[in-house]
Structures are given as structure tokens and as C-alpha cells.
């Protein structure tokens, strides 16, 4: 029977290719679809967690405090060590935000100077996406500053120019001069007009030695909402380890986004159902039509003495072989595509749209093993089920009727 099935497939390569191709296309599309859908949801998550980190540590009640002094976590080193002790993967970033007056030659602006560490991975992504001119800060650079392009325009300064920062009433020098070493082109114009980065040591020297206003914990490896449970666990651990501080996960920081993600889930499910119904129809149609036109042939085989069951078996085996081959090819090429898109891609034409929401237009495709498994299983199961109907028609009919059968 295997030889019969194999011979049918091999001798009718075109027909086999069409059927296996349909299954392959469906698997490929499912994987692609899942990975893009996942990318859109996850990009929301990534956008947020890249800017805020997954977890933030502040002084207690920091939202109600106004005074710069009261917002400081003063013993930076020892708190950093306590955070590090609990969070063993991930990157701990110290941030010191200083309200300051920034002046160019003859213009000034009140802004928030951000001094922070830049772990390699985060720095690289930030620079790749945002730096439009010059270079970025070195870790302990004391005199360089990187400005948003529109802020630089407002101050009428360019690369190599001096700017002056005044932060009176702080614990540091309270004033410093910096050279503009780089410019940023940020997605959000408002943010760009307020952005000025210096190194953490520079900010501490200016305003608060050995202090930060917050720690951010980043997990650059966690890029999917469904991998987020780990973050919540670590956040809980950190809360227990730092009772004297305020520890919040991104869920606490942005409840609106959490809600949005929660609405997106069921919405995706509805779209999923529609997608898979259509994909299923493609498989059913191809397999079914391919077999209906062979009912005459099955009738001949039965009339020569093959049992209906044997013919059923032969058809099923053929379908299994075709579906598995098609699905394998579809899965391999689908996953290859996902691997490529996982490096980052944009929807052509939609960049502006994403940017207008302050979102990174670069999406990162990703897919879970369960989704791959489902895509493959779905296509194979549909293909085999679609084969069973013509097979049962052929074996139910009297041989003479089957041989006269026209679909």
C-alpha cells in the first residue's frame, strides 16, 4: 500500500506539488502571520520597556515629592549592589535626572538633564535608532552632552558648540559647561525638544554626588509579553529585598498599556479564527478537489478487488505524506523568514503612522514553539480530514457508480 501511495504521488508530481504546496503555503503563512501579529503586540511592550526598563526603583512615594533632594537615592553603590544581588540577569541602570537651565550662546531652555549608565546592549540599540550626527557618550565622559536635534536648534547650537547647565540649589557644583558631541533624531518631536543626555558621573558631579533618582532594571532578552511572568516574579523578589524603596514593574508604571494589551489578546484571537478558517479552506479545497477527480480511479481499483478500506488507507497515506512534506517545507521557510524578520523589519509605508504614536516603527518578528506546532498541526490535520471525505465516497459507492462518478 505504501508503494501504491508512493507511486501515485511520484508519478503525478505536478498534482502532488500543488497539494503539498497548498499545505506548505498555509503553514508558511500561519507562521508568518503569527510572527507579525506577535511583533505588533510585542513592539508595544518593547517600546515601553526599552524606555522605562522592566522594573524601576525609586524612593518611596516619589510621585508625591517635588523637591530634588527628597527624590534622591543617596547611597548609589550600596543600593545598586542590593538590586544586583536580587536581579542576577538583566541590566541595572542608574539614572539621575536633574532639572536644569541649559543655555547656548544667546538662548536657554529649562529641561531635564538625564545622566545615566548605558549598558552595552541598550546603548547600541539607542544609538542605532536615534543618533543622527556626531557620536554618543562614553561611560565616564564628564564634558560631553548629546542633544535632541530640535533642542539644539532651539538653543542655536551645533556639534562642537558649548552649552552651559545651571542647576542651582543642588548638592553638586550646580553649574557646568558641556560640549555638544552628538545629536538625536527621536520619533517624538516633543521629547526631542526636551532631550539632553550626559553621563551619570557628569550628572552626579553637577547635582548629586553618589546619588541617582532611580534605578531601572532592563531585561534586553525579554522581548515578548508572554515571557513577562519572569519579570513579575523578579519584581516581587525585589520588592521584598528593598522594603525601604518603591519597586514597580512596567505594569505599575503604565496601566493603560496593560489594558491595551489585554484588549489586544481577545482581538487577536478573533482575527486568528478568521485567518485559520480561510487557510483551512485553501487546504480543504485543494486536497478535496484533487481527490474528487480521482474517484473514477479509486472505483477502478475497488472494482479490481481492492477493499474500500485499502483504498481509504492508500488515500490517507498519500495525504499524510503530502501534508507532512508540505508542512515541513512551509515550516522551514516560514521559520527562516521569521529568523530574518526577528532582526527587525518595518511595514513599508507605515513608519510615519507608528512614529505618530511615538512607537518604534521597527518591529521584531517572533513566534512561540506552540504557535509553530499549531500551524503545522492545523495544516496537516485539515489536509488529512479533507482527504477522508472523497476517500469515503469512493469506498461507499458501488464500484460501477464510483467509476461513473463525476464531481
Amino acid at each position: 500500500m505504501l508503494t501504491l501511495a508512493w507511486r501515485n504521488l511520484w508519478r503525478q508530481r505536478r498534482r502532488s506539488l500543488v497539494t503539498a504546496g497548498a499545505v506548505g503555503v498555509v503553514v508558511f503563512l500561519s507562521i508568518w502571520y503569527y510572527s507579525i501579529g506577535g511583533a505588533s503586540v510585542n513592539s508595544l511592550y518593547q517600546n515601553l520597556t526599552e524606555t522605562t526598563g522592566h522594573i524601576q526603583v525609586h524612593v518611596p512615594n516619589y510621585r508625591d515629592l517635588r523637591e530634588f533632594q527628597t527624590l534622591l537615592i543617596r547611597n548609589e553603590q550600596s543600593v545598586r549592589e542590593r538590586v544586583n544581588a536580587t536581579v542576577n540577569q538583566g541590566e541595572v541602570v542608574g539614572v539621575l535626572e536633574v532639572s536644569a537651565l541649559l543655555s547656548g550662546e544667546d538662548r536657554s531652555r529649562g529641561i531635564v538633564l538625564v545622566g545615566q549608565d548605558w549598558p552595552e546592549q541598550i546603548r547600541r540599540r539607542f544609538v542605532d535608532q536615534n543618533l543622527s550626527a556626531g557620536r554618543f557618550l562614553e561611560a565616564d565622559e564628564l564634558s560631553g552632552i548629546v542633544l535632541g536635534e530640535s533642542l539644539a536648534r532651539a538653543l542655536k547650537v551645533g556639534l562642537g558648540d558649548e552649552v552651559y547647565a545651571y542647576a542651582p540649589g543642588t548638592d553638586g557644583y550646580g553649574a557646568a559647561a558641556y560640549t555638544v558631541i552628538g545629536l538625536l533624531d527621536l520619533l517624538d518631536a516633543n521629547i526631542e525638544a526636551r532631550s539632553a543626555y550626559i553621563s551619570l558621573p557628569a550628572a552626579q558631579e553637577l547635582a548629586a554626588p553618589d546619588a541617582v533618582t532611580r534605578f531601572e532594571v532592563h531585561f534586553p532578552e525579554i522581548r515578548r509579553v508572554d515571557e513577562d511572568q519572569g519579570v513579575q516574579l523578579i519584581s516581587a523578589d525585589l520588592k521584598a529585598a528593598l522594603p525601604d524603596y518603591s519597586v514597580e514593574s512596567w505594569r505599575d508604571l503604565d496601566p493603560t498599556l496593560v489594558q491595551m494589551l489585554e484588549i489586544l489578546g481577545p482581538m487577536m484571537n478573533i482575527v486568528n479564527v478568521i485567518f485559520f478558517v480561510l487557510a483551512g479552506l485553501l487546504v480543504v479545497n485543494t486536497v478535496y478537489l484533487g481527490l474528487m477527480e480521482r474517484i473514477h480511479e479509486f472505483g477502478v481499483i475497488i472494482s479490481l478487488g481492492a477493499s474500500g478500506r485499502k483504498v481509504m488507507g492508500m488515500i490517507t497515506l498519500e495525504s499524510v505524506l503530502l501534508c507532512i512534506t508540505g508542512a515541513a517545507v512551509g515550516a522551514v521557510s516560514g521559520l527562516a523568514l521569521v529568523a530574518r524578520l526577528a532582526q527587525g523589519f518595518t511595514f513599508p509605508g507605515l513608519q510615519e503612522y507608528y512614529a505618530s504614536f511615538g512607537m518604534n516603527p521597527i518591529l521584531y518578528a517572533s513566534i512561540t514553539p506552540q504557535q509553530v506546532f499549531f500551524s503545522v498541526g492545523f495544516a496537516i490535520a485539515t489536509g488529512i480530514l479533507a482527504a477522508l471525505w472523497p476517500a469515503s465516497v469512493a469506498s461507499r459507492l458501488e464500484p460501477v457508480e464510483a467509476m461513473r462518478f463525476t464531481a
Binding site: E297, S303, E398
Partner: protein, 233 residues
């Protein structure tokens, strides 16, 4: 049922339903076929020859009546048993050849043996022998769509012969053959009938074939109008 009866057909009726339309293809056929007979069923087109052969070959269900084969009733067998019967006991040659398109002439001729589970070597040896007897060996590797109608017909005959059945039912087996190949086929069938005692029942219009039959059954409008045993020269 008398001794030596291979087939006993009793009051056989077949009505086809196509939508509202009913066609009475057989209206009460009684027929006994004896061991070793070489019987032709003749009659105008539409008289029910194919229908009768199909029912005798357990390929379809009658509307009424009985078909007995070697004292077994075969018109009401279940699907599995009737498939077994066709596989092991009856060789059938279809009017429309019904070759399997993906298979070569040799594989088609060997197909019944393949279903019986014979090894490739054994079955192809037998199939080739059958093709040779019909002068078709040189076309062994061709697919049906690369053969003429007459050539396909001979492959269909070879498929039935290769399986060595005791009974062969053939629906117009010489219809598409020229006189040379037609005669060759007739001679071969006669030889199998004489030497091996194979019982043949076939439908035909072919006067060449009718010359040689031992019994001629005339069918008209689904009824037997004459049934004569002929003295052969």
C-alpha cells in the same frame, strides 16, 4: 441448480435512477452458465449487456433477483466479500478499459496480482506473459494515454488474463481491434477456454467472435430473446 453451473442468474432486474428518470436496464433475466462455456451476449446498444455483466461481476447491486456463483449467492455480499470475490475469482474486462492512468501497461496488467500481494518479480513476469500473448510486450512501458484504443483494450484483457481467473467476464473485448489483432485475441481466448477450461462470458457485436462461440444469448430491452447452444465446426 444443476451440476456444473458456474453462474445462475435468476429473475435479475436493474433499474437506474437518474433524478426523476428511471431506466429499466434489465427486466427479469434468467441465465445459467455452465463450466467451460464460451458464451456471447449480443444485442443492440442499450439492451443491457454491460449491466448484466456488471451484476455478474459483483460490481453493482441489482434492483431485484439473484446471482449465484458456484452455489454462493453474490448479489447481496457486503463490500469486503464482493471485493475479495472480484480479486480472486473473476477476471473482468471493461468496455471502457478502465486502466489506471499513472501506471504503465505492464503495471496495469500486473495490478490485480499486486493487489493479491505477489512480489514485483512474480507479478511482472506473469503480466508480461499475458501482454506477449496479446502482442503487446513492446508497449509494456507505456502509460495508457500513450496507447491507442485497441492497445488499451488489449492491456485491459491482459490484466484480466494475467490473474489466471477461472471465469472471465469481458465487455466487448474486441470492439476496438482490427481484424488481425481481433483474431489473435479470439484465438487466445479460445485456447484458454479449451486448454484450461476457463469459462468466458462476453458481450459483443463482433461477427468474427460470434463465429466461434459455443452459446449465443440475445438480449433486447433488458430481456433474453434467444439463447442457443451452437455446434462448432
Amino acid at each position: 441448480m444443476s451440476q456444473g453451473n458456474v453462474y445462475s442468474v435468476k429473475n435479475l432486474k436493474k433499474i437506474y435512477h437518474t433524478g426523476e428518470v428511471k431506466t429499466q436496464a434489465l427486466s427479469g433475466v434468467n441465465l445459467d452458465i455452465h463450466q467451460g462455456e464460451f458464451t456471447a451476449i449480443a444485442g443492440p446498444s442499450g439492451s443491457g449487456k454491460s449491466t448484466l455483466l456488471h451484476l455478474m461481476g459483483a460490481l453493482d447491486e441489482p434492483s431485484e433477483g439473484e446471482v449465484w456463483l458456484n452455489s454462493t449467492r453474490i448479489d447481496n455480499l457486503n463490500k469486503v466479500d464482493s471485493a475479495q470475490l472480484r480479486l480472486w475469482n473473476i477476471g473482468f474486462v471493461f468496455q471502457a478499459y478502465n486502466l489506471i492512468p499513472v501506471l504503465t501497461a505492464l503495471e496495469n496488467a500486473a495490478f490485480v496480482l499486486e493487489l493479491r500481494g505477489l512480489s514485483k518479480k512474480e507479478r511482472e513476469a506473469k503480466a508480461l506473459e499475458a501482454l506477449k500473448a496479446l502482442d503487446m510486450a513492446e508497449y509494456a512501458d507505456r502509460k495508457p494515454n500513450q496507447l491507442s484504443g485497441g492497445q488499451q483494450q488489449r492491456v485491459a484483457v491482459a490484466r484480466a488474463l494475467a490473474a489466471d481467473p477461472r471465469i472471465i467476464l469481458a465487455d466487448e473485448p474486441t470492439a476496438n481491434l482490427d481484424s488481425k489483432t481481433g483474431h489473435a485475441l479470439i484465438d487466445h481466448m479460445l485456447r484458454l477456454n479449451k486448454e484450461q477450461g476457463i469459462t468466458f462470458v462476453f458481450s459483443t457485436h463482433d461477427p468474427r467472435l460470434l463465429e466461434h462461440v459455443s452459446r449465443l444469448v440475445q438480449l433486447e430491452d433488458g430481456q433474453i430473446v434467444s439463447d442457443e447452444v451452437l455446434q462448432l465446426a
